[in-house]
């Protein structure tokens, strides 16, 4: 090492450090937004057909607009009535006017309103909705919320790839421009399904893991060969040219041949599905009229059209960029009040008022920032120091203090129930008397008042209160005497000889404290109770495989109707997960689909009676919202679904005299 280098090294190191610091300081700063809110988490997607969570919900509501809009409406009475209490939610025209519904409640006709445009300036049309809803239902899209269109005639059949011989089918040939992209599609052949050839079904040893079985079965299904009597070939959007002949199609022709198929030439295809245009009841009568035909009267269908999964997506945008590229900044074309200006992962989404939105004159906020703030404490700090104008939740440790000291903290009932699932196949929990005893031993009021403290409501029913016209059926209140009696009747006086009960919850401090309280209360009956916590992914696994005894759960209604809560506990329902099955319950849920609106709620009420008697679930409490909103924000209205469309909000300039919020 030459001494010269050694001499200058310290200076060189300093210079390098200086350069490093200078680079580190060269930030690009964004101009401040008019309104900033904590969005809870990073969005997982901005594709309405794929999204599921509430952070996504808040952003999609700004970027897109459905056929209808569900808005909280202002009621007279100021802050007292609009912030500290829930206001009603009202369906308003969105892209279309309020629908015409036939007397049987099964056909909805939507007439589109003028001046509804995409952010590229093109008018939003009925075929846009046919495209978007077909995309949502398409099995390859794998949208978890596709079931919201299972109410539509043929929707479930198309979505779950159910086929019968003789069905009209559509075949998509394996000639897409990009095989992994659903759009643009390959050549579409339409015809009648004449037969399905299946190779020998794989058999499994008893100890084969479920995942292994699933993947082998999936491979088996791919080698099916479908014989189709072709009738037409698509030559443009819903334009067909005649095509005759019988063809054999398979997703994996070589596997079919290897599996023993030797009955002629096989053409490779992407899909063989029910013919959407013929089978599914979603039709564009013209550019401005959409007709939807339902399996049975579904009184909440209009609410569903205001929910993000049924929002339209822009076809040319999806076809040009593909999924998920089309949802990136600069690509995304929406039809909502805002456009996507910037998206920095785990930092913020910046929204800017859309220049093409029909109601733009009544959208007060020009620029809105949604922060992907995951830590409740950091969000609260930033709210208290004025960096954020609205936070959607607060840490539990400060709830009581905020309720006492602050007038800008709003807690109102929500459409969410916290409950324990009980695995009814695990003795001794298979005995309904035990389940009733467990329920009667829980002091729910204590949990709400001493643990949660935000005004949560002790739950004696599964369906939360606040759904118009519905009367919830209740379980018994806390009653230790009754619990002891039931336990003795079941053969375990004072818990003697009863196998231990294990409460499973996902790792979270609140869940732990609640489980501990319940553990203590069950111990009072002499029941030996243990706690087990699992990290989220493993927890869900244990739940869906029913490897638990009692498990913490929660459910939020996507629409204000008891059905969203009750239909999950039908026999083998995918979200049942308790092993519980009751024929009368199944019958009531099914029967409710075919009666008048009033009668329907009565039947659902009867179903809930059964649920509350049988107790495969132990309701514990109903959630409340925990919003903190800067008093200079106007137009914020508490409501049961915690919906706060950004286009309703406005901000008073900081210098204007602010009207003091009324103290409670």
């Amino acid at each position: 090492m030459p001494p010269a280098i050694r001499q200058i090294f310290p200076y060189l190191a300093l210079v390098l450090l200086g350069v490093g610091v200078a680079w580190a300081m060269s930030f690009g700063t964004l101009p401040p937004a008019d309104f900033t809110f904590a969005n809870g988490d990073e969005v997982k997607t901005l594709d309405p057909g794929i999204a599921t969570g509430s952070p996504e919900h808040r952003i999609l509501d700004a970027l897109f607009e459905g056929l209808l809009r569900l808005h909280p409406v202002e009621v007279p009475g100021g802050a007292e009535k609009n912030l500290y209490e829930n206001v009603p939610l009202k369906l308003l025209p969105g892209v279309a006017d309020l629908p015409e519904v036939t007397n049987d409640g099964q056909t909805y006709t939507f007439h589109f309103l003028p001046d509804r445009k995409w952010s590229n300036g093109r008018a939003v049309t009925a075929p846009d909705f046919v495209f978007s809803w077909q995309r949502l239902l398409h099995p390859e899209n794998a949208g978890e919320y596709a079931y919201q269109l299972h109410y539509v005639v043929g929707g479930k059949k198309y979505n779950l790839e159910q086929l019968e011989i003789g069905d009209p089918v559509e075949v998509e040939l394996y000639d897409r421009p990009v095989p992994s992209q659903m759009y643009p599609r390959g050549t579409m052949i339409r015809g009648k399904l004449a037969g399905i050839w299946k190779p020998e079904k794989p058999t499994f040893a008893k100890d084969t893991p479920a995942a292994e079985q699933e993947s082998q079965l999936a491979q088996w299904k791919k080698s099916f060969v479908y014989t189709v009597q072709a009738e037409t070939k698509d030559v443009g959007e819903r334009k067909y040219a005649p095509l005759t002949g019988t063809f054999r199609y398979s997703k994996d022709p070589s596997a079919a041949v290897a599996g023993g198929f030797d009955d002629g030439q096989i053409v490779q295809c992407h899909h063989v599905l029910a013919d959407f245009d013929k089978v599914v009841g979603i039709r564009a009568l013209d550019d401005n009229t959409l007709q939807v035909e339902l399996n049975s009267a579904t009184p909440y269908f209009d609410q569903l059209t205001a929910f993000f999964s049924l929002y339209p997506v822009c076809r040319e945008c999806v076809e040009k960029y593909g999924t998920p590229e089309w949802t990136r900044t600069g690509h995304l074309i929406g039809n909502g009040a805002y456009t996507l200006k910037k998206h920095r992962v785990r930092d913020r989404i910046r929204l800017e008022k859309s220049a093409t939105y029909w109601n733009r004159e009544h959208v007060p906020l020009e620029v809105v920032d949604a922060l992907a703030l995951k830590s409740d404490t950091t969000a609260l700090n930033m709210y208290l120091t004025g960096q954020v104008d609205w936070i959607i939740t607060v840490p539990n440790t400060v709830v009581q203090q905020l309720r006492e000291d602050r007038t800008d903290f709003y807690t109102t009932p929500m459409l969410t129930t916290y409950f324990y699932r009980v695995n009814v196949n695990k003795p001794p929990l298979n005995d309904v008397r035990i389940r009733r005893a467990l329920n009667a031993a829980i002091n729910k009021a204590l949990i709400c008042d001493e643990v949660l403290k935000a005004g949560q409501i002790p739950a004696r029913s599964y369906v939360p209160p606040g759904i118009a016209g519905y009367h919830s059926e209740l379980t018994g209140d806390q009653d230790l005497e009754e619990a002891r009696k039931l336990l003795a009747e079941a053969g375990y006086p004072n818990g003697k000889g009863m196998p231990k009960v294990e409460i499973l919850f996902n790792t979270n401090e609140d869940h732990r404290v609640i489980a501990e309280v319940i553990q203590q209360q069950w111990r009072k009956l002499g029941i030996n109770c243990e706690l087990r916590n699992l990290e989220w992914g493993s927890f869900l696994d244990a739940l869906s495989n029913q490897k638990y005894m009692v498990s913490r759960s929660a459910w939020t209604g996507d629409y204000a109707d008891p059905n969203t809560f009750l239909d999950m506990f039908v026999t083998d329902g995918p979200n049942n997960q308790t092993g519980w099955s009751n024929a009368e319950y199944d019958r009531l849920i099914e029967a409710a689909k075919h009666v008048s609106a009033e009668e329907r709620l009565k039947l659902l009420s009867q179903a809930e009676r059964i649920l509350m008697d049988e107790l495969p679930i132990l309701p514990i409490y109903f959630y409340v919202t925990k919003n903190m909103v800067n008093p200079r924000v106007k137009g914020f209205r508490s409501n049961i679904q915690d919906l706060h469309p950004l286009d309703l909000l406005s901000v008073e300039p900081p210098n204007a005299p602010t009207e003091s919020t009324t103290a409670r």
């Binding site: 090294f9 450090l17 610091v21 580190a24 700063t29 949208g143 995951k374 700090n381 995918p574």
Partner: protein
């Protein structure tokens, strides 16, 4: 020059090997975790799940998934896309998150070095004085207190009590100060102790006495002659310190709402976003290798006795 190139080449080969081993272990470990990567609170139909598995190639045997991902990574620098974040390419996440974490790290490191060496030198020169005692008490505390506790105290003091810094966020210099201080503090403390010990030892050496005997002033002796010898332990500590600052920022990024690599890493691990977690692990591995190589190189420059072997 040749020994230098040989040294760099050898280090580079070792890095490749290590990254490969780390990747392999991380790949198979991440898949060994029970639980399905697509699980959600609402049950998914078997059809939906099958299409999701196919889309990401999870339906293929594990070994072929491994081979394919290794191939893509080495030939096209393709680290796949996030499974949970709208299929954003992992390379993009790194490109966005790395500068943020790096800025934070550089500030923290500069702060730790500046404060640590100054405090250490003062402590050593005025040893057993009140100043020495208070610096070393603070240093002991600084090492013992985890940075997230420090962050809470700092937020209470400088965000709420004396409101001079914002509570969180990223984009301005003011937003950077608190997290950088909290991140750097334990390292400053450690560096102070190392400097003090080094200085104390060096100040007793013969050549220092010679320097004084030649009639040099205090300042010149301490800064020119003593510090150079005393700083060696600090330089060798910089390697682990870089590692500590990088991994330490995981928690602080969450507390101060900073969109750096740490946030991506934690979330990816918790949400089973395998490609992101793997990508981050590899970036961290490489950073540590590079940091250590630089430290070893600078060692040669500072201490004439050390040779590149």
């Amino acid at each position: 020059m040749l020994p230098l190139l040989k040294f760099l080449f050898r280090r580079f080969m070792w890095m490749i090997l290590t990254v490969w081993i780390v990747y392999t272990i991380a790949f198979f470990l991440s898949r060994a975790v029970e639980g399905d990567p697509f699980a959600g609170e609402r049950a998914m139909s078997a059809e939906v799940k099958r299409y999701k598995m196919e889309r990401y190639g999870y339906d293929k045997p594990l070994v072929s998934q491994y081979a394919r991902s290794l191939w893509l990574m080495t030939t096209q620098l393709d680290l796949h896309e996030s499974r949970k974040l709208n299929e954003i390419p992992v390379t993009q996440l790194i490109a966005e998150g790395f500068p943020v974490s790096a800025s934070l790290g550089i500030f923290a490191l500069v702060f730790a070095l500046a404060l640590g060496t100054v405090a250490g030198v003062i402590s050593a020169v005025y040893r057993y004085s009140f100043l020495d005692f208070s610096f070393m008490t603070a240093a002991t505390l600084g090492i013992a207190v985890p940075n997230f506790v420090l962050a809470s105290i700092a937020i209470m003091l400088f965000v709420f009590w004396i409101p001079i810094f914002p509570a969180g966020g990223w984009g301005t210099l003011r937003q950077l100060v608190l997290p950088a201080l909290c991140l750097g503090a334990p390292f400053a403390a450690y560096i102070a102790r190392l400097t003090r010990t080094g200085m104390m030892e060096v100040l007793n050496q013969d050549y220092i006495r010679t320097a004084y005997a030649k009639g040099l002033g205090d300042r010149r002796v301490v800064l020119r002659h003593a510090l150079r010898g005393a700083i060696l332990p600090v330089v060798s500590y910089l390697g682990p310190a870089t590692a500590g600052i990088l991994t330490g920022s995981l928690v602080l990024e969450r507390i101060f709402f900073i969109p750096g690599m740490g946030s991506h890493f934690i979330e990816a691990a918790l949400q089973r976003d395998f490609p992101v977690a793997l990508g981050m692990v590899m970036v961290y591995t490489m950073l540590l290798f590079v940091a250590n190589a630089i430290v070893d190189l600078s060692y040669v420059v500072i201490d004439p006795r050390v040779r590149l072997e």
